[in-house]
Symmetry: C2
Subunit: 356 residues, 2 copies
């Protein structure tokens, strides 16, 4: 039962400082269709800005015909859309992929599925009128600090095609309440199918540019085997399933104890590449697999899908695994390829249980 | 600037598993009078129960004349009170007190000040009628698990005098919304002046007993120099002040950088022993101290008090300290006495800043 992970390197004080700030979703939260406020994961690169909705503006500038300066009243008076979106950090699973990048040391909890309300981005950009020479939009947040020796405002850049999609929002509510400060109050970008790092919080500025943007964050979130190589960009969420922790637990180790007899496993699965079509369970450490029952297909593939599985728990130690397949045919791997940033570790979840 | 803490022991995987669940308040949250939902600290010993308000009951039983079984409708139909309460974990500062108890490795973020709504406990207990032989009330939550080799429901016990005070609530709302699951939905105990461990979440049962209760948690939260000794019980919050992180920061180290010139420090202070009467700042590593300006005295000493301090930041490295004094005369120490559980580390906060 006790994990004998000889590769574990103790968490540094800097990593602990991040873990104390960057909230994970309790995996019990997988039982809720909509993640309750305060359970959703959080990453805050620098500090939470002291924002005031009354004086907040979002500028649309750069290579546009009609630069805009939008107040929160302006944004709220535009067409409003509410949609559930599964958001996940690209670093989810980082601490399980040694040697570990020194950043936020996630185990598996960097996810959540909130109902976001906001106004679609595209009509707003159409109103500003992107000039023909513009090829990208750069989004700038109010959080400011130093990373990799670069003093910066947090920024992300997208090709016009990647960000001018129907489902991209400027979001100002979460689960029906104004965005809490830590989620980007008063307004943030929301790009549903991509990992969370690009959904810029505390949004101040949208700038149309004629050259590919190469800001620090964009160049940091890349899959690199060679630390100095170009790497591949991190974009859409890889397919993943997680389970509600079965049975009961102990403190502080969080081992799992399950009663013998008929049992029930459940959880959620999602992908940035389309609907979830299959979730499989192994109760024998991956030797055999059985299909889980899928819940209703969500209205949009941006929202996670429920799964459940009945099993007969027999006395002894078992390793439970869960893996998902999306409509594009992506299947979770048993091991995800290591990379310098510790990104996109969507290896199948393994849960040791002691049945008694 | 870089911390040279040679006593740091890397965080274990079990500790990281706790840190990923037990949310800390971002210290930027000290700027808000009421902590926004989702920023308040959290400790969950076992798992978050799957509770349903419609079928939830709280039993009042044991040595009472008239045992009660209260639905949430019953509780909500009783007199309702809303009050701001500063809640803090007794383990706040544990990771700064080596050698470290293996538990939740808090730095300084285990605090929050929410507005709690609920019904006062005492009238309810008077209605049940405590029998003369009863000396304590035991509160039982629905979270269940194993700690210290003891399988248990989470429980806390109080003398009648300690818990039948005017300000003790059965709370069912936080900041005007139903308690989120992770805060004890649908109802929890709230004992304002004590550390958070006694404010039992997911409350199921209140039992009057004739013998001193000696449950696992009560015997665990004690100040012990000798691991097998009786130790002193952990009860009221020790006096403490914390500051909003000054200036800007870097990722992931969270060093602090401040612009030279007139500057402003601010934060909050609280105590379980009465109102805050003084907050002092040192900008020279503790050699000299100056009084901070205090904000308005809160209506109740259960709520934290704002403080602020103007200073002229001069180029170079500085160590900023803040310490509070409460009306009972308690002053924060420069170093708090070590103990086996890592409890009540209310040593003055020290913040290294580089002024540039």
């Amino acid at each position: 039962m006790t994990e004998t992970d000889t590769t574990w390197q103790g968490i540094t004080r800097d990593e602990l400082g991040q873990a104390a700030r960057n909230h994970g979703m309790h995996l019990e939260g997988l039982r809720y269709d909509v993640t309750p406020v305060g359970m959703h994961y959080l990453v805050i690169h620098f500090d939470i800005p002291a924002a005031q909705e009354a004086t907040w503006t979002v500028a649309v500038d750069g290579l546009v015909e009609r630069p805009l300066t939008l107040s929160m009243d302006d944004l709220r008076s535009r067409r409003s859309v509410t949609r559930p979106v599964t958001m996940e950090c690209a670093g989810n699973g980082r601490a399980l992929m040694p040697p570990r990048a020194e950043s936020q040391p996630w185990l598996l909890e960097a996810v959540g599925n909130s109902e976001w309300t906001g106004t679609p981005l595209r009509p707003l950009i159409e109103e500003a009128g992107v000039r023909p020479e513009a090829i990208e939009l750069v989004f700038t947040g109010a959080d400011h600090g130093i990373q990799g020796e670069v003093e910066q405002d947090y920024q992300w850049g997208f090709s016009l095609a990647d960000v001018l999609r129907d489902d991209v929002l400027l979001a100002y509510e979460l689960n029906g309440i104004p965005l809490p400060p830590q989620h980007g109050y008063p307004v943030r970008l929301l790009v549903p199918d991509w990992y969370g790092m690009c959904s810029v919080k505390w949004l101040r500025r949208i700038t149309a540019v004629a050259e590919p943007f190469d800001g620090f964050q964009l160049s940091s979130y890349r899959l690199r085997q060679d630390p100095d190589g170009p790497g591949e960009p991190v974009t859409k969420k890889a397919v993943r399933a997680l389970m509600v922790p079965p049975g009961s637990t102990d403190f502080p180790a969080r081992n799992r104890f399950v009663d013998a007899g008929p049992g029930h496993l459940s959880g959620r699965a999602w992908s940035g590449w389309g609907h979830i079509d299959r979730v499989e369970i192994s109760i024998d450490g991956g030797r055999t697999w059985s299909d889980a029952e899928l819940g209703p297909e969500p209205a949009s593939p941006s929202s996670w899908r429920a799964w459940s599985f009945d099993w007969i728990a027999t006395v002894g130690e078992h390793e439970l695994l869960v893996r998902a397949t999306d409509r594009a045919g992506n299947v979770q791997p048993l091991d995800a390829p290591w990379n310098h940033g510790g990104f996109m570790n969507n290896a199948v979840q393994r849960v040791d249980v002691l049945v008694r």
